[in-house]
Symmetry: C2
Subunit: 322 residues, 2 copies
Amino acid sequence: MRAADLGERRLIQLLTKHLYRNRKVLAGAGEDDAALLSFGGKELVATSDIMFSSTHFPNGMKAEHIGRKIAIANLSDLAAMGAAPLAMLFSFGVPTSFEVAELRRVIRGINGVCSGYDAPFVGGDTKRARELTICGIAIGEVEKERALRRCNAKVGDVVAVTGEIGNAALGLRMMLKGIRKPSKLINAFTNPKARISEGRAIAECAVGTAGMDITDGLLFSAGEIARMSGVCLSLEGSRIPISREAREFARKYNINRNLLLDSGEDYELLVTIRNRRFGEVEERVEAVGGTLIAIGRVVGGKGVLLDERRVNAAGYDSLKPR
Amino acid sequence: MRAADLGERRLIQLLTKHLYRNRKVLAGAGEDDAALLSFGGKELVATSDIMFSSTHFPNGMKAEHIGRKIAIANLSDLAAMGAAPLAMLFSFGVPTSFEVAELRRVIRGINGVCSGYDAPFVGGDTKRARELTICGIAIGEVEKERALRRCNAKVGDVVAVTGEIGNAALGLRMMLKGIRKPSKLINAFTNPKARISEGRAIAECAVGTAGMDITDGLLFSAGEIARMSGVCLSLEGSRIPISREAREFARKYNINRNLLLDSGEDYELLVTIRNRRFGEVEERVEAVGGTLIAIGRVVGGKGVLLDERRVNAAGYDSLKPR
């Protein structure tokens, strides 16, 4: 069955059946003009990430992975603010000839993530388009003045990440090379995690942490925190966690380390934490099952240093010719 | 200059300059991973509308009107809930060859609306795409249990609209025919209003009103309220406000009334109000400069009656072949 056979309304009705919801949802997807949620007295966090088949969904990427990826990308932005998810919305552009079954698998991928992170899919839109398009929106809450702002880094802070760098970027390269054999790298790309628990644990410590996810590359994110905080992030290459699998694949295909650190697709968090509080924050992150790995320090100046040499991080940019 | 010359980041920096903001915005567009807003103890309302150049932006539609349209479409969904806007997000898909100047004009249109409705543009995303794509998101708040839900209609209620029906749909037809001469109809299409003040006035009366905007057609919306409330909406054709200009254009081009009432593009609200409270609600709407025009009654049964004959309203559907 094709989308045109069903029409927009019936398609929406079909797609919004059986969505996960919790008691905060007063009106969910397909029920009203807008999503309606009960709310407390905190700070509201809202984010949106949009993806297009021609740019973001490589051949061989399964529909469920597509759904998971757009949902995780949005939740990761909440994680990077230290926010707890409240709800998500998704707006779709669908070619008239697009298979409804395929779209349902996309929604299944989305809904699995929504359920796993207690972030009900409560609304959105569906329209005709030239290519498959998904715009995700995540709404969350965080205690007053606890958000991990990019501008919070201070000289003397420890720079840390929540996990290994480069697995997902190399997983994508493997897929683009036609490699389908299950591996840690491909799994990192197709089944990413959003570091919500880690972000929450750090925010709850209330130590004025700067934070950002590294979906456009570790070095790019380091540059952003440096720029917004008016400081320099000095990283030690030997401390940046890179998996054995990633090292082997990178060696085999001649991918140098800086390129790896400038690649996107990973959803780890990059944070800066006051030196004297680092141990305490690390414990809190470990208590929720995460890790916090120190990879450098915040120093005076600007930009990013890697082993004391200045690096220029462009990051992933979908609009620039590659 | 084309988007590819600038790159995604610089494009975002450029586009998010000089955006309207108010004191509730803690982190706005381009400043952090997500928008951050201070908030009170009310109900949260969130909505998203997505539009694509191939489907939604007819030739001859100016960039600023495109921006205005996507922003109004989203705010209209808040209006239809009786919500006050808090903030908006916009995610863009941009062909690499797209003119940056054109995109700036789109943003100018958006920002004009954001400023006019005190709904700061606080975040979003920009990626490469095959056609110009804009996904808008509006977030608002409404007092507990005051939202105009589609399921609130009760037998005996008065059915009313906030203004003339069909002007914008006919304005679009004029533009598609190549008519460019300024007129009330074209203006209704290119410069629509969201009925936020009217929606707020109605919600503040706390009379358990059902409400919906009529962007997919008056008859379609009537059918939706009927379906969600388990009632029948009985409309009187002679009471539905249609402008002199619309009547003349429709006569000239042989467009019958039911087609007009089934056309989208208007942003008026369709509401149902307890009969004995109608006068009071009407006064409140008039006090904010609006109008409320009774066009029928809620009766037992289901579906929609127009002059006591059953009508089948399909409404506008972008995925269906026309």
